[in-house]
């Protein structure tokens, strides 16, 4: 316990007699009372008499410093503090502590902020273009020197990107097929046209949804994983270590990942197409359309060109998602939160790019009549 007794001196000053144990759990009421007493003394001398203080830790010393900071220097002084605790007080420069020596920088005005965002966006676009060039160069190099590619890494990443993704890709595309078929079969039945749902499923899965859903799943699973992995390596200076060994981080870290994604994404897309069609078949079966009829209907409407339209896209999507994941990882700065930011930004910019590129494909296919 700690107590504070205040007495007034003849010249209007105050003597604050502190007693007991001054630590973080006892100083709260004393500090307030002391502050009021120092204010009430109106510029007259104040003595903090610590003769009866039997313990005073860092928090207690902070209270003494806090009271000494009030008013002009020298107006409030500490007396009779045990030498052991006085040594703790003596290590501080009271006047220096009164100022915040490292204040937070003032907030930028809104106009500046807009400019900074625009400049950041521009710089980001540039780094994306540079990185695309570097990755392409590294891929061409890998094609010309296949012996120098770290195939062990590639197979390991293939397993994580491809095989491990099978269950989730199967689940999502099966449900997609089921839902798409169900939602369209109900209104179509009013016209007796349930059979044409097979056309819808066939064309939309093969041309569009198979590739797009697989790529979005890839962005969420592997894009984020690449960013987190490479981000942690950057933060731990592992990327610096590669650079100073004379090994190009892009060739060493990015190439195996992009190759693995390039090998696996088309296969996953193929798988998604099939499972999606199967989902549609199951739903339509409950609408009394037999499997054979369904398959014949799909076969009649979909040709090889439709399949290739989706399949070709999946290669481009693979490069995009794997590339952006790696880029965001290599851009990580320091600290745990920056790795998190990399992973988030890998997924977000990955999906944005996917949608933009998918739109470009749609226009190109239309112009080419595919």
């Amino acid at each position: 316990m700690a107590t504070l007794a205040i007495s007034e001196t003849a010249d209007g000053g105050r003597v604050l007699a502190l007693a007991g144990r001054l630590d973080a759990s006892t100083i709260r009421p004393l500090w307030d009372e002391g502050r009021r007493a120092v204010t009430a003394a109106r510029g007259a001398h104040v003595v903090l008499d610590a003769a009866e203080v039997d313990y005073c830790d860092g928090a207690g010393v902070a209270m003494l410093v806090g009271l000494m900071q009030q008013g002009d220097p020298g107006r409030v002084e500490v007396a009779n503090l045990d030498p052991a605790f006085a040594a703790l007080l003596a290590q501080f420069d009271v006047a220096r502590l009164a100022r915040d020596l490292d204040p937070a920088p003032p907030r930028r005005p809104a106009v500046d902020e807009v400019g900074v965002v625009a400049a950041t966006f521009w710089a980001d676009l540039r780094s994306l273009i540079v990185f695309t060039g570097e990755t392409t160069a590294a891929l061409i190099w890998a094609l010309r020197h296949p012996g120098k590619v770290r195939w062990k890494d590639v197979w390991m990443i293939c397993e994580r990107v491809g095989a491990d993704a099978l269950p989730i890709v199967a689940l999502i595309s099966f449900l997609l097929g089921v839902i798409l078929a169900f939602e369209s079969a109900v209104p179509m039945r009013r016209f007796g046209a349930e059979l044409f749902v097979a056309d819808l499923i066939g064309i939309s899965m093969l041309r569009e949804l198979g590739a797009l859903m697989t790529a979005i799943l890839l962005a969420g699973r592997s894009g984020a994983a690449f960013a987190a992995e490479l981000g942690t390596m950057t933060v731990n200076q592992e990327v610096d270590a590669l650079t100073t060994m004379g090994l190009d981080p892009v060739r060493f870290l990015v190439t195996p990942r992009v190759i693995a994604a390039l090998l696996m994404t088309p296969l996953l897309t193929l798988f998604a197409d099939l499972v999606g069609l199967l989902g549609g078949a199951v739903t339509l079966h409950t609408f009394s359309i037999p499997f054979v009829t369904y398959i014949r209907q799909v076969n009649g409407i979909v040709d090889f060109g439709d399949f290739m339209a989706g399949f070709v896209k999946s290669f481009v999507f693979a490069i995009l998602v794997a590339g952006i994941g790696c880029l965001r990882g290599l851009q990580a700065r320091a600290g745990a939160s920056s790795v998190g930011d990399s992973a988030t930004s890998a997924v977000v910019s990955g999906i944005i790019l996917l949608v933009i590129v998918d739109g470009i494909f749609a226009v190109v296919y239309y112009l080419l009549g595919i």
Partner: protein, 256 residues
């Protein structure tokens, strides 16, 4: 205050290790109130493992560890919380929260465990950072200062609540000699004037000779404590040649 010689930490018959793999067998020692106690040992001797047991991060494979009378190994939630409040820990890497400034790192325990108001906490945080020479860097993020400065800020955070016991894992590794000497002076001041107890895992012999009251030396090969006592006496007159060799920094003689 109790007599300076009574034990504040009692490590009794502890088998240290992880996952059923023992590194040290049946280790017992006491840390006395108010002393600066150093745990020494070669690389991989189990110093850090022992420290992890003492601060309650990992339970030892066997044995008890009493912190001011209560066993941290078996303590249930409420008691465990109160034991954890008795000590501060500085981790080898600093372990500062990267998203907070240095001042916010020091403020965090004060905000969570005291009822002081904002200005008061701000002043205490600034004083803790001033003690380690960092009052001009309060608004910096850990990533914006050097490794040595992060370490000093971590010490300031460990001291935030003025704990009775402070555990420091390799505090002076990576610090320049002047800063390291300043840190030694700070530890001595807190121990002598406040009666704080320091348990330090360290390799830095100059610093150990300057501040340690007592050391224990552990060895993985012999799976236990091989020496205990005043470091200067051990250097000059330990019966164990390996211990003398360690303190005199003589290289290991490799078999031909």
């Amino acid at each position: 205050m109790s007599a300076p010689s009574d034990p504040i930490i009692r490590v009794h018959d502890v088998t240290a290790g992880y996952d059923e793999t023992a590194i040290l067998d049946h280790v017992s020692f006491d840390v006395r109130r108010g002393e600066i106690f150093v745990i020494l040992g070669g690389s991989g001797s189990g110093k850090s493992t022992l420290l992890k047991h003492m601060i309650g991060l990992e339970p030892p494979l066997a044995g008890s560890i009493l912190i001011d009378g209560d066993d941290i190994v078996t303590a249930e939630d409420g008691l465990r919380q109160s034991i954890l409040r008795r000590f501060g820990v500085m981790y080898q890497s600093g372990a500062l929260f990267g998203s907070m400034t240095l001042a916010e790192n020091v403020r965090l325990p004060l905000e969570e465990f005291t009822d002081l108001d904002d200005d008061e906490i701000a002043l205490i945080a600034r004083m803790k950072l001033a003690m380690v020479g960092l009052d001009a860097f309060t608004g910096h993020l850990p990533a914006e200062v050097s490794g040595g400065m992060q370490k000093r800020a971590a010490i300031a955070r460990a001291l935030a609540l003025d704990p009775k016991i402070v555990f420091l894992d390799e505090p002076s590794a990576g610090l320049d000699p002047i800063t390291s000497a300043g840190l030694d002076a700070l530890i001595l001041r807190l121990a002598r004037n406040l009666g704080a107890t320091f348990v330090i895992v360290s390799h830095e012999l100059p610093s150990i000779f300057a501040i340690a009251d007592r050391v224990i030396m552990i060895d993985r090969v012999r799976r236990g404590i091989v020496a205990e006592g005043d470091p200067r006496k051990l250097r000059d007159s330990s019966p164990d040649p390996w211990v003398r060799q360690f303190f005199r920094r003589e290289p290991e003689v490799l078999p031909a």
